[in-house]
Amino acid sequence: MALDKPYKDIPGTTVFDAEQSRKGYHLNQFCMSLMKAENRARFKADERAYLDAWPMTEEQKQAVLARDLNRCIALGGNIYFLAKIGATDGKSFLQMAGSMTGMTEDEYRAMMLAGGRPIEGNRRVGEMK
């Protein structure tokens, strides 16, 4: 019997469950390696070469190179792991989260200051504004 995943209808949200974790194992472990300063330096010096040392899919590598966090998440990435890439780039969590929303950095910051994204219209797919 298939697992019950009642969270699949939450709009704009990918829950990092066992299935995503399995898909993203090497992508996330690559991110983890960026916790060490010397690895951050090696990655910055030649991103492609650094990524090629990991058994990631080409799609995952392209998503990292493009800093496309939504794509990284679709391919099994988890935000707490992906945040290590952002940290390596000198980005804040605010900048990283904002980059996934289609808003500019200023628009996203302003939305947060005004109280954040409202829940109304954002509970289920089909009602998203």
Partner: protein, 281 residues
């Protein structure tokens, strides 16, 4: 005289709050209202002088990668260093543990059917150090010993709210059976509503958060029945960290607690900040 739990503290643990403290930006207009909400708490804690804080938090891919994902992990080491999360380690004191007490709690909880992972070496990230900074400021050494208790909320599913509440109750029994007159606080951290990923990032749900605080105080058993999907949908994918608050709540006595302090603020970076102090009466 045995050890006893005197109070529980609940707070969000946003990394940007740590950065604001570390970089001396707490007086900026953006941050001032947030830190003002913790002033009374700092004075309260300084007067309480607990011996040990059992600090429930989650690791954010710092100590635990995907190689090992313990649902409940108790830190039994003599000390824990602040983790380098990619920005460099926070300039905060190392955390002094309490190996004898932690070993007692681990054995007691496991015998009480909670299958904990025992951790004898672990760095602690913002999930643990930001609450300490919020409540203690910037001392040269933390004023009490800390037993880190890490809960998996990164890979779904985290433990259920019900399981967390029950664990808190088992912790209450485990503390009471320790033959040393320690004043113990249990802290539950993380939350409140926030989502850090995808097109729905930035979600904040004030109504949910405030109802959560109300029910945490008055109806923990009812609150513990809330299914995971409600947290994910209503409080955002990262809002599910709130299940950890139920461990601290379960550790409190059955009699209604005294609400010492309650605070709510939006935003800190991407997150709604909630904070509560409950004392046993």
């Amino acid at each position: 005289m045995s050890a006893r739990i005197t109070a529980s503290v609940y707070t969000s643990h946003v990394p940007a709050i740590g950065a604001a403290i570390d970089h001396g930006r707490t007086a900026e207009a953006y941050w001032r209202p947030l830190f003002a909400g913790y002033e009374a708490s700092k004075a309260w804690l300084a007067a309480q002088r607990p011996d040990v804080v059992f600090l429930v938090y989650n690791d954010h891919a710092s100590a635990f990668s995907l190689e090992l994902i313990p649902t409940f992990a108790i830190g039994c080491a003599a000390g824990f260093a602040p983790a380098d999360e990619g920005w460099g380690a926070r300039p905060v004191p190392a955390v002094e543990g309490h190996p004898e007490f932690a070993a007692h709690l681990a054995q007691s909880l496991i015998q009480d059917d909670f299958d904990l992972t025992i951790v004898n070496r672990m760095d602690v990230d913002h999930g643990l150090t930001v609450p300490l900074s919020l409540l203690c400021g910037q001392p040269a050494a933390w004023p009490f010993r800390v037993i880190p208790f890490a809960v998996n909320v990164v890979q779904y599913p985290p433990p259920s709210g019900r399981r967390c509440l029950q664990l808190g109750r088992a912790l209450r029994r485990a503390v009471a059976s320790y033959d040393e007159p320690l004043d113990v606080q249990v802290w539950g951290t993380g939350g409140m509503s926030h989502q850090l990923q995808g097109p729905r990032a930035g979600l904040i749900n004030r109504e949910f958060d405030n109802a959560f605080l109300d029910r945490l105080i008055a109806d923990p058993d009812g609150l513990a029945q809330m299914p995971h999907v409600d947290y994910l949908r209503e409080a955002g994918s990262e809002g599910i960290e709130l299940v950890m608050w139920l461990i601290a709540r379960g550790a409190m006595a059955d009699a209604p607690p005294r609400v010492v302090h309650r605070f709510y603020h939006v935003p800190a970076s991407n997150t709604a900040v909630g904070h509560l102090i409950l004392e046993n009466t």
